[in-house]
Structure formats: structure tokens, C-alpha cells
Homo-oligomer: 397 residues x 4
Amino acid sequence: MAKMKTVVLSAKWDPKKGFKLGSKDIEEKLTYLGSQVWRNPRLSIEENDVPEIGPTEVLIKVKACGICGSDVHMAQFDEEGYIFYPGLTAFPCTLGHEFSGVVTKAGKQAINKRTGKRYAEGEAVTSEEMLWCGSCRPCADGYPNHCERLEELGFSCDGAFAEYIKVGVRYIWSLEELRENYSDEDIFLAGSLVEPTSVAYNAVIERGGGIRPGDNVVILGGGPIGLAAVAILKRAGAAKVILSEPSKSRANMGKGMGADYIINPLEKNFREEVLQITEGMGAKLYLEATGLPDKVFPDIEQAIWQGKQINSTVVIVARSAKKIPVTGEVFQVRRASIVGSQGHSGHGTFPRVISSMASGMNMLPLITKKISLKDVPENIIMLQTNREECKITAVLE
Amino acid sequence: MAKMKTVVLSAKWDPKKGFKLGSKDIEEKLTYLGSQVWRNPRLSIEENDVPEIGPTEVLIKVKACGICGSDVHMAQFDEEGYIFYPGLTAFPCTLGHEFSGVVTKAGKQAINKRTGKRYAEGEAVTSEEMLWCGSCRPCADGYPNHCERLEELGFSCDGAFAEYIKVGVRYIWSLEELRENYSDEDIFLAGSLVEPTSVAYNAVIERGGGIRPGDNVVILGGGPIGLAAVAILKRAGAAKVILSEPSKSRANMGKGMGADYIINPLEKNFREEVLQITEGMGAKLYLEATGLPDKVFPDIEQAIWQGKQINSTVVIVARSAKKIPVTGEVFQVRRASIVGSQGHSGHGTFPRVISSMASGMNMLPLITKKISLKDVPENIIMLQTNREECKITAVLE
Amino acid sequence: MAKMKTVVLSAKWDPKKGFKLGSKDIEEKLTYLGSQVWRNPRLSIEENDVPEIGPTEVLIKVKACGICGSDVHMAQFDEEGYIFYPGLTAFPCTLGHEFSGVVTKAGKQAINKRTGKRYAEGEAVTSEEMLWCGSCRPCADGYPNHCERLEELGFSCDGAFAEYIKVGVRYIWSLEELRENYSDEDIFLAGSLVEPTSVAYNAVIERGGGIRPGDNVVILGGGPIGLAAVAILKRAGAAKVILSEPSKSRANMGKGMGADYIINPLEKNFREEVLQITEGMGAKLYLEATGLPDKVFPDIEQAIWQGKQINSTVVIVARSAKKIPVTGEVFQVRRASIVGSQGHSGHGTFPRVISSMASGMNMLPLITKKISLKDVPENIIMLQTNREECKITAVLE
Amino acid sequence: MAKMKTVVLSAKWDPKKGFKLGSKDIEEKLTYLGSQVWRNPRLSIEENDVPEIGPTEVLIKVKACGICGSDVHMAQFDEEGYIFYPGLTAFPCTLGHEFSGVVTKAGKQAINKRTGKRYAEGEAVTSEEMLWCGSCRPCADGYPNHCERLEELGFSCDGAFAEYIKVGVRYIWSLEELRENYSDEDIFLAGSLVEPTSVAYNAVIERGGGIRPGDNVVILGGGPIGLAAVAILKRAGAAKVILSEPSKSRANMGKGMGADYIINPLEKNFREEVLQITEGMGAKLYLEATGLPDKVFPDIEQAIWQGKQINSTVVIVARSAKKIPVTGEVFQVRRASIVGSQGHSGHGTFPRVISSMASGMNMLPLITKKISLKDVPENIIMLQTNREECKITAVLE
């Protein structure tokens, strides 16, 4: 059996006191509450079998795979040794879920959505990270981001920091339309950015309802999701794209992605800046992508309250357990709303992100560093403290 | 000049310390912040001139006019004598804005929306309370509930606790289609309920996005707006309409309006009840109509979190300055949203409420007491303490 | 191996001259163009093996199964012996797709959407007829009615005119919530009507965009789909539900389902009637369910043109290859639109239809005759000429 | 009283045989059916009084005004001398409705939507052409494009081919935000293009529902509306903007406005081209802007039928009385729809078009020729035959 190199995260199953196995948890193996259970995480390069594929799966030779914040949090641990990452995890597990590659083998019923025929070898592809079941009530109703029996690539089953990965065709999307405008390497770098870009697209277009050309928008937080949202909303015709971000380097990246204005919220009054830039209107869409909603929400609310814009939508995309203090009256008087956003699957999001990239939406500047597979562990560790890099991406031959 | 009886509220212009005249306020006359300015309110029956109408106005002989909570709050005052009502007010002012009547005179360009012709005498009509300008940005964009230069009938200009009232045709809606299924008196009683019913309709149908037949809904608060929402959502095909209301008499009225289940939130666990009634689903729409959002929101959030329903919408219709503690994660995981609702104008709301009433949506049980015009002042005072009556309505000959 | 009785349709593979095998057709077995290929259809009662289930399937003991117009058209043939039914077919095949029954066996991963657990024996269920793949682009995007690799129960794989049927859990919906308000027999009769009711629901609610309470609607054609639409739109709060249908008996059924007005289009002027009934407004939604769009569309267009209603939607649900003559100007001046509707899957339609039935939407009057399984063939034949019966339903012990 | 030069169209009231005065027509003066009534049109430069303004009006010094196709059709006549233009007209009338200028006088209640204060002298502005009443049912419901008592600038009341024009503030929109990125002259040239651009915006964004970034679109017809739609949809993030237009010069302008592909429908097979360009998908939105819907619709339908795209919308914006042959089945199988579009008012369209222009959507290339006011008549005549010019615009000092 063929062998391959992989980046594996291992940890010890050692539940905190009081932890009770959930109905879908599996003793010693899988939990929906990672940080309650897993201790002493270790990253290592291992040699594993190249996976066998089933009839509706393809084997993909990985070409590029980016490091995500959740990869960092799975390897990061508190003083008692428990991992930071709070969600679905099953260790040991090959990490990596923001990836692209080429199909090297296809099951008999592994149909390519693009062609309606079985996948051909050499097709450039990317994949969703969320392995939705397609059968539960949310899936049947068309909301796979809210699948009741989700598996996750690189979290609960083996991911793409590896030479090969197998994935069901349901989750695979062709990158072939990138070939016209991208170099051979860039196809795969861009392809590895489809997943995080789709998280942002789902937030602002699907959940936020999009905008009409000529609307103003404000993005709070210049991490990968916030920066991708800048590019998407600029692409969607926003008149003024405003990014609120204290870090200079992130602010600069925001400009590169299309932000028209930057607010440093630590130095300036957010509300005043927003109202001045928009000549008193405020924004149609506010994206909370900082993870500090309790901190930034009062500012958003003030901008809505004092701006002339009605029908504003606040989209919450960053995760946080913090309570957000909301003044109902502001949302009444300004006809405003708040929506939560999760996921990247369904709703035609992946293919539209790819088509947008193919026709000129350039996400490549998000990648600030390219590494090889063997350097993934040390870079994951390094990102626990580094705030300068945006996306570090492993490039495979 | 003909004379008529009216119910007038007078008060003294005596701004609290620190109050500053707003840009649209008028010294001694009109303010957007009533409770900061008006002192020692007095209700009286006065004899006034029957109003003269302009070319696009009609003169309406009032047939019925209900007492609204805001009428009560304008006449109610704190220990220093300042009125409770916090909003737009210009005293002295004839109160009354939930009314119906017959047209007795019509200006030359007073066109009836129903017929496309000038209003005929005898047409049964009701009116919006919000006198939107039709020219500001929100009005021009189609959102008259958010008019920047609003006047309000019975608040900043003379209302309908009077024998006659003049109103611009823009705000008038015919009640003629009620004639087929309502008695002569009931046409006008029903007509006086169109305004509060439209506030509820705007909240659940326009702002809440309505429901699909078969969805479950929860209404929190059995005041007139909550009760009207019960009837509307039952009418819209809700599978299970659940009303959360501690008062027995209000709960009973809720059943009469179509509620399938009542929860007494003081005696039972709201979340558990909702989940049990809906067999674990929860509701598609939650209407906050209690005015205590800080109290009830955590319960709503728990029902959303633990229910299987995704895409829930929480509509905030009752006014409150309290902060609502929102957990973004709940709204992400459950694909949920929060919207604020204000007003009753625009969006085809009034005519649809009237058509719904004409074809079987019976709102009359909301009226628990009928009085004559001269009894209005004492009943307004009585409602400062009484919690048993729902809608008290003045009936005029 | 256990045996069971089934109603099988057989026919001869004998393509018409010029027919070319399609890319998804299978020689001698399956075609997407039935009427081009199948000759000399025969219905027979046969003894077949009770099916074996896979891990995500359940075995259902059939309790009720209705005859659909397409069952009739598969057995009906032209003068050269070719069947009428033009679509996907693979003979021999057990017919029957409007059914309900109880689960008697469940695969290991056969999860019940209602409970989140494996199906228990005895659960009352119904099923979608469309076996969408869950993996093609339309399925992944949330539009299973437009699956690119559809199979159909009772057309291309064995259906429910049989003692048992196996179905994948993805397509199964529980009927347990009917137990409270339906007798044991009626649960299954109602359950067998969920599929056709869902076709109507998909047409008027999902594709037509639904209505707001107080809107008027017109249904053209009182077949099962039209009649179901009458009930659904009445349920959704339509002010006036108008059914246009020339047959007396169908018109009477329409009244039973909730129609407020009947128009006999052969005796009266459709446009005049619609405008008179609606006092000059016309309707918000027109459903073309006659199959004669070329005949009825000009009337619909005239009603839209002369009515005051703007934003009307015409939904085409009945199949027809006829050209419809559309006047763009009418749709411009009246801000109107036309949408096509197909299918019943996805969008939460099945569960909402079941919840509507559970809470009072009574579809049972659609069933005008109950028969036993062995009488299915003769009744299918009889329906080739009979126009009086609405739904004939086989009831199994 | 101050005098000014104006371009006036006069004609003789001489109704065709059989013409009957409509309910809103005025003998010898105004009709809704121009081509049935007006004969022997004459264009002349006249000296008229500078208009007096009312309290909610402003006087605008015109700076630029474009010639529209309807201006041409009002001056063009058939062999019997009747004008081509079929709609609302009241002659003699100063023509011109695509204009911009500066406010020189403002009524006491002439509030600027931008500032919330009375208009200041010197404010750069443009205006809607449709003078909606704000009081009829469609206006009250938020659909001013379908006003029942519309007046039209430059058709039924004096337009902007004049040194001054008065307009109610309801219809006026500030151009001040163009100042940052446009030269003094270009502000007004761009401003004169806001009206036609808004017709296109209303068609594709408001009525067509817009697109999501990454969708493909096809525009049929490269007249001013089609070309504006190209720019808007490119701005909205379309992946591939395809313009179908036989004229070389129009095709070139299309490329300038952002079209990625041009199809010459006289030389190539439209369907094949669309499917090849989009790699078999087809388009999400098709805009019929040719005025020949009977000719082009079958091609659109074929592209929808054979493409993989579901949910396509066909927007009809060009006027034509021709019947369009629609195959319902195509719209069912592809989940497609057809909508009619009319007008440019409401829905926040004008301000969003202006904001889009201010932030980079350059419409100026639409103007192919600049003339002075006195040359307007001859250029209107010239455009009866010339097909090379796009927009000819009068520039005033």
C-alpha cells in the first residue's frame, strides 16, 4: 500500500471534571467540545497510507493548503494542557482544510458537477470543509451549514496537510475555470483560498442579504474573513468599503483587497469616522469579524442610531460566547436587523466564489507566506503568537 | 363656524434641567422628547371649531375611537409632574388615533384610493396615525414608517376623540368592503382596530417576513399588539400559535383570537414549554411584545438554542430602552435573526388588514368596553391602573 | 424470501423511428422520454420479493396509496400503442408514489429526521416521490426539484402499489404529529395526500412566493393540484380564493376545500368575473393548473391588465408544451411576473404540509373513492375516461 | 418677469377616428395615448417665462440635458402626420427629462434629502422624470413607478431643454457627492445620465432581483438602457457580462462599459454562443432591451433550456406590444421566471446610482456628442435616422 507524509495532531482524551459524554460523542475518540476533553496536543509529521476511495469519492493530490486559525487553536493549550479549540474534534487527525489539488483517481459514481460526468484525472479542485450529511432536516431543507450530523475535514476526519486526501464528490468543486487567468501555481494558491472566502461570502451575501450597488459597508476586523469580505463587497458594488482594524499591516492588506477607508478604532472614534466618511449616512451592512462583539457592538449601534441609513444589517460571523448588549429601540427606529452566520456550504457559494476569482477577484494577496508541508507544524506553533502574517500556505509539488 | 366636542390634553412647557431644544423642536409648542418637557397634564372636554379642510383632505365624522396605551402615558405623570410618554408631542392637542368614521366633506383633489375618484360622502374610512411627509429619503425609498418629518395624529396634531377630524387622503383607507359581513356599528368598531392591528401586521408580516403555512410561532405579551399578532399569524397558517402571558384574562382573550397554547411564564419554564408543545422544534417567529426584552430575551434565546428549528426570527415590537443580552453564537448556530419593528404605514399593510377583517379575521373581541366621548378622560385615567380591560373604545352617534 | 403483491406496469421497448438513446437512457430499460419508446403497456398484479433494505433505508408497510394522473398516462396509449406519459420511465415497474405506511424495518444508519435517532418500528411515514441525488450542482445548491440525476418512485424504481416498499431515509417524513387529530385510518389517507399537496405548496408558496394575509388569489383548474392550492392559500390567509373550473363536481370540491368563489370559464367572462369579485383589484397570485396555458393565459393577462393590483405573480404548475402568448407590456405596467414550478422536494415543504394538516388543513375530501390493492389496475384504466372522481386511493390492511 | 430660451414641441389635437377621450384625458390638452391624437409635431426654440416656484419646489438652472428616444418619437410622425410616441403627452410642452443643474432658488419647505435642511443655492442636482403623486394606492404601498396619477417632466409638463426648470423636491436628488471625483463639467454630464441609468438599475437590480457576485448575465440590446445595464451588472460583480448587439459601434461601447463578451446575433447562433462562453451554464439574468421580444425570446428560452443554470430571470425592460411566445415547461424545468420592468423611481434607486457613479461607475462614455441648447431640435430630427450616436447631450453655460 502506497505511503504518504501527513501532519497529524494527537492529544490525550482526558475530560475535565464534570464533562459528560454528549449523545454524538464517542469515548476516547470524538467530541463536540474539544477544549473540555483533549489535553497535551502534539503536532508531528507522520507516514500514513494513501487513502482508499469509495465509489462516490475522489483521491486528490494536494497542491496547496493554508493554515487556519482553528488549526492554531487545536495545537494551542491552556495552563492545564487543554486545547483552545472548543468544537468538533477526533484525534489523532491529519489537519488541514483550506486546500486545493488535482484529482488522481475517481470512484465509479464520482460525478463532476461541472461536466456531469465522472471526474477525469488532472482536474483541479477544491473542497468544502463541512461534510454535511444530505439527509437530516436542515440538509433536506437546503441548509447544509446547519447539518445535524456534520463531519469536518481536518477536525474529525483526515485533512489536507498531506500528500493525498480523499473526499466525497458532493463536497468537491472544480477550479478549471481559473486556468484562463491564473498561472499553474496560482490556480492552486487561489483554490486554497476558496474555503475561507466562502465563509465571508456566506456571511455577507447569503446571510447578510448582500447589498445593492451604491450601498456603503463596514467590516470590523481585518483577519482573513474580514479581508475576504472587503474584496467580496467591493466586488458587489459597494460605494464605500470601510475597514475598522487597529493593526497597520492588516489595514494595509485591507487596502489591497479594496477597502476605500480604514478606521483605527483604538485611535479614532468609530461612530464619528463612519458618519464622516459616509456623509452622515452610515452603512447598509456591518460585519462583525473581530470576535469581540461585546466591545464593538455599542459602536456599531451608535453609528446606526445616528446615521440616516435605514435597513442596516449587522452580520455576526466571528465566534464568541460573549453577550452582546443590544438596544431594541435602535433596531426599531432604524429598521435594522442582526443575523448570525455560520459555514460556507450550500446556496451556490463555492462555485460563485470560484467564478468571481476566475473573473478578476484576486484573493492571492491574503497569502503572506508560502511553506513546504514539513514546515507546517512549526508555522502552526509560530502563529500562536505572530500577528503579522495573514495566511501561511503549504505548497506541495 | 360649526362647533364640536373634543377631548384635549393640555400640559405646561417646562423643560427639565439640561434639556436642549432639538433641531425640529418648537419652543413652547412641540418636542420629540415629551417626557423631558411637558408637566402637569390635564384632560378636558372642550368645544372647538370643526376643522376646515384643504384640497387633498377629507372631513370625517368620527364613529369610533379606541384608547391606546400612549394616550394613557400622555396623561400619566411622575412625581415631579412630568408626563410618562417620551415621544413627539405638541400640546394642547386633541387625543385619539385609533378611529373610524364617515366622510362628510372632501377637498377637490381628495381622491379615494379605492375608487380612483374623489371621496363621496358617507364612505366609511379609517386612517393611519403616522402622517409621513412623502418627500424625505425614507419616504421616497418606500419606508414611510421611518419618515424624517413625521407628524402624528392625536400627538402633534388634533386627533379623533372629537366629533370631526380632518385628514389628508394619503393616510385614509376605505372600510367599505367590511359592509358585507359586519353590522353598521361593527364596521366602525372593527375600523377603529385597523391601526393597532396594522402595527402587529407590520411587525410579523412586513418586518418578521411572515411565515409559511405550517410554521410555529410564539407571541410574548398579550396586550393589544400581541393579541392582534396572534390573530394575524393564525390567519397566516401557523401550525401552532403559542401565547406567553401571565394574566388569566389576557390569556383567555388570546385563546379567543386563535392562540392554540398559552404559557404562563411566571408559573412555567418558558423554554421547556415551547419545546414540549412544538415537540422539540421551537418556533419560526418570536414576537417580543412585552416591553421587557431584557427579561424575556434569555428565554427566547434558550428556546432557539435547544430547538431544532433553524432560521428563527425574533421581532422586537414593544418599545423599551433596556439593553437586551444577545449571544451571537446562538444566532450563528441556529441561522437566526433579530429585527426591530416600528409603525404601521406603507407596504400595503392597512388595506390587507382591512381585507383580512372583511373576509373573516375578527378583531372585535379586543374591544372589552364601549364608552361615549365624554367618558374618555376618566377612562384614560382609569387605565393607568386597570390591567383587565383590553381596548376601551368611544362610540359616537 | 418473503413475497408480496404488487401492481406492475410492463411495456415493450420499441422506440419510434428517429428516437436516439439519450446520454442517461439505458437500452431496453430506462428512458427520459417514455412516450417515444414504450409500447403496449399492461397492468398486472404480481407476486414479488419483499425488498431488502440498505443501511440508510427503511422498509415501509404500505397503508394507503393514491392513483395519480401520471399512473393513468403510463397505462394509456395512442393508436400506435405508445404510452401517453412522456417522461422518465423504466419498465417493468411497480407503480404508486402518493403513499403512506408504517416503518417495519430500519437500516443501521436510517435516522429519523423527527427524532434524530434510528427509525423505530411502527412510525407512520410518507415519502417524497423524487429521489434526488444530493450531490449534483442543483442538489448541492439547495434545489433538489431540479436534480440532474433524479430517480422517481413508481416510475423508474419500484413504487407503493405494493404491500411493502423500501425508501432511503432522506426522502421519508414522519406522520406522527397527525395522530392527535386524525383517526388511525385517516392518518394514512391524509399521509397519502402529502405528496400532491406538496406539489401545490411548492407552486404557490415556494415558487409563487406565497401571499400576505388579505391578498386575493385565483386558481385555474380544479384537479388535485388546483384543489390542494385552494386549501393552502385559504390557509395562508387569502381574502378571496377564486377557483375557475367548468366541472360542477370539481367546483363543489373546490368550495369544500375553501374556495370563496367559483367561476365557470365556459359560461362566464373570466376577466369580468375576477374584477367584479375583487372589486376591480384582480389577484396577487394566479395559478395555472389546467394544462391549457395557451387558452387561459390571455384571460389571466386581461385580468392583470385591467385590475388595479400590482405585483401579481402567475405560477405555471401544470405541464404543457404549448406556447403561451405573453404581452410584456402588461407585465411592465403591472409590475407582474411569471414563474414555472416543478416538484415537491426541498425548502421544508413536506414537513410544513404535514404540520398544516396536523393543525387543521383537511385534505381528506380530495379522496372520493377507496379501493383495495387488487382493484388498482381497473381503476387506473377507468380513470382514462372518468372525470368525476378526484383522488382514488388504495387502502391496505 | 425673467425670460428664458426653451425647446418646445407643439402639435395639433386631432384625434384619429374612433379615439375616445380617456377618463384622465383633457380635451385639446392632455392624453395618455399620444399617437392616437397628436398630429404635425413641430420643434421650436421659444422664449418663455422663467417659472415661479411653490413652497416645496426648487428652481434649477439647467447645466446638461440628454436627448432620449422618446424625445425623438414625439417629434417623429407617420404618413398621416400622427406622432410615433404612444404615451402620456400634453402639448405644447418643453421637452427634456435627462438633466442636471444647480439650484438657484428654493421654496420655504423645499427640504434637501441629503442635508435634511432647505436647499441651498448652488447645490448640484438631478431629478426623476416621473412625477408620482405620493397618495394613490401604488404610491402609498411604495411603488411610485406605478403611480395612478403620474405626470411626466418633458411630456405632460415643462421639461429641461430650457435654461431653467422648476421641480418638486420629492423628485430631486443631490449630485454633490460627485464633486470629489468629477470635474465641474463632468458632474453635470454624469448627472444627466442618472435618469437613464436608473431605468436600467430598476430593471436589473430592483425588478430582476440583482445577482450574486460570480453569476453570469446576458444583455440583449446595446441602446442606452442596455449599455447602462452592462455597467451596473459588471459593478454588481457579474463573472461574465455578455452583450448581444449587432451594431459594431454599439458593441464597442458595450466593451467600454464593461462587457466581457459580445455576441452579434445576426452572425452567430445566440444560444450556442451563450453556452460556449459560459461553459454550458447559461446566465442568471437575461435583460430584454431590444424592443423585439418576439424575435429574441425564443433564443433566450433555448439558452435557458440547454444551460445548466437554474433560477434564471428574464427581465423585460424595452417596450413592445408584440406577443412573446413562452414555453411554460422551460420555466418549470429550469425554475426560471419572467418579470416586467417599468420606471426609475423609488426603492432607493436614484441615490444608489449616484453613489455608484461617485465611487467609480463611469457612465460618461455613453455621451457621444455634446451640443448647445439651440441645436437640440435639429439633433432630435437627426436621431430619427442616425444609429451611430448613443447619447447626445445639450450642455448649457
